[in-house]
Amino acid sequence: MVEMKRIAPVLMAAILLLVSASLVSAQDEAKYNFASAQGNKQLKVIPGGAVEGVIYFYNIEGNRITHISLEISKAPDDWIVEIDPPQHEIQVNVSGKIVTVTENLHVEPSQAVAQEPEEVPEGMVYIKLGDLGYALAKAVHIVVQVPETVEIGTQGDILIAAEAEWLGQTGAAAIKQAREFEFFVEVTSGQTEYTETIVGEVEKTETEKPGAAQSTQPESGEGVKPEVAPPTPPPASESGPVGASLMRWLPAIIAGVVVVLAAILIPIIVRRRD
């Protein structure tokens, strides 16, 4: 027992030493984190208008500042695409040495929090990351402006190339990360009020009329796409519009019959009893 008492402090000291050593090595190991959350990729814009896509960047798994630069790698010719914040130069003190970095933004390491804090640092937002909680993030806005002359229904793909780098790397091969963000922009009329007008019936050719011989497959690879989908038989559970309507009104019909029968029978029964 006395032996144990003597050994215990030595063991405790050894454990503490091991724990602190592992903490130091954990601090030393560089973790280069590049994390993004892209919101809605499908954007709609009216001719001559502008629309905005958003990408959030955060850094909850890394222990180095992530410097991110973005550029437009694909966009329709006459469309104007801008990245906010734009690319700019900053000076960074890396272990006592001043380095100039070209970037759109940088994201400092932070930790996820379980509840969304009420106070948010300027220029930042908290984004929800499932069970991990909330991460402090910076937003990049992709502003897409389309010309007045663009036709309604036109679709344009915007591709943003992002590159993340970390300063102070001492190895023979510096590590970078790259990622692409795609946005699909559709030009619409901008009309929010719903309207629907029947233009007319589609005229069928002789071969398309009922009774005429039909082939289910186009004759060649250049087959014409049908403008109207061929009618499909209703599922087994449904019995057509008439049947469905009848089923819907059945309780009301039964109720009507009950009322009529009651109006006839109740007075008769009551009179007989009296």
């Binding site: 993004s36 190895g171 510096a174």
Partner: protein
Amino acid sequence: MKKILISLAMVLVLAGTMAVPAMAVEEGVTASVTVSEVIDITISDAGDNGIQFGELDPDTADNPDEAQSTADDTIPAVTVAINPATNVNCNVSLKGTDFHTSIPITGASFAEGAHDVAKTYMTTSYQSVATSVAPNTDVELWLFLSIPSGAAGGAHSSTYTYQIVKTP
């Protein structure tokens, strides 16, 4: 007469209760939702000094990163962690720049998953490392570098760019 009226009223109430659901107007509303696409990647290297191949002699092939394990699969040179916040499967690719005009990136290679599997030689274009990697998974890489016979002396460096995108 009073009994008749009470009975009729009860029947009417019952009938009304049956008929009301049929008279209700059914409306269908389209519901849609957009979930943000999250890609959260952390790259870490085995040593605390970056990727180091050390002092190498010309005309030597497949020299390993100094910090990685060479006899077993315990320590990869680089670990690409697809962090749990990621909500899509990812494709991982790698490209590099020449260390020097006399030490092209084509002399650099990587082995994925184990130290002794077939190596993929790098180029200045992206080479596939792993495809459809699920969230919360690590991609482990062992790195090597060959030095040609006519390589210029001195310290040379490269940049390895890891591209991680959503699996189409």
